[in-house]
Symmetry: C2
Subunit: 114 residues, 2 copies
């Protein structure tokens, strides 16, 4: 496998390698949302969300369509959704060690952004 393709792969992983961008992809799995929707749901700075969206756009992980004032984002390829689903399975399998590496986790809702 040529190194250029490995760089491409690594870039995709890099694009997913941020909690906010994971959160964005998770939300978009449920269907199209506008940048403002994402901002509201994640409770983060407008510029910050926009920057993260720019990263996801740059790697073509999301599609965007403009409607009037707003820009609606969606997951561009279902394969990525499958990847995220596999990852969920991975975390379930390794929950214990995940918890070891982390600190908090029960099923009481957590305030830190949802």
């Amino acid at each position: 496998m040529p190194d250029s393709l490995r760089r491409f792969k690594a870039d995709i992983f890099q694009a997913l390698a941020h909690p906010t961008r994971i959160a964005i992809m998770d939300l978009l799995e449920g269907g199209e949302l506008s940048a403002g929707d994402l901002m509201e749901r994640l409770g983060m700075e407008q510029a910050n969300i926009s920057q993260h969206l720019a990263v996801l756009r740059g790697k073509q992980l999301v599609a965007n369509r403009k409607v009037g004032n707003k820009v609606f984002y969606s997951v561009r390829d279902p394969i990525i959704i499958e990847v995220l689903a596999l990852m969920r399975r991975y975390f379930q399998c390794h929950l214990k060690e995940a918890l070891g590496l982390l600190d908090e986790m029960d099923d009481t809702p957590i305030e830190v952004d949802r």
Copy 2:
């Protein structure tokens, strides 16, 4: 989903987000290899390989067992292999844009990855 779990997920992606580490995982998919084997196959500095292995170990993506002088590495969970396989499918689907995003591409034919 709590933010802590998203951070955990993002960390896994981060661990995969480097061409050399992708290459290591690809090689390990074929079975256990020693650090030296990897070094030889990838033709990179010993310290560099060792540092990348440390990253993969840190996120528990690889297992290692010591045999005498050597340390043999292997992929710790088959789910990760599935993720890599899915990614291969993704790249095949998006090969065109993959090549578009890359710049350097000589005229030697591209072996589309195993």
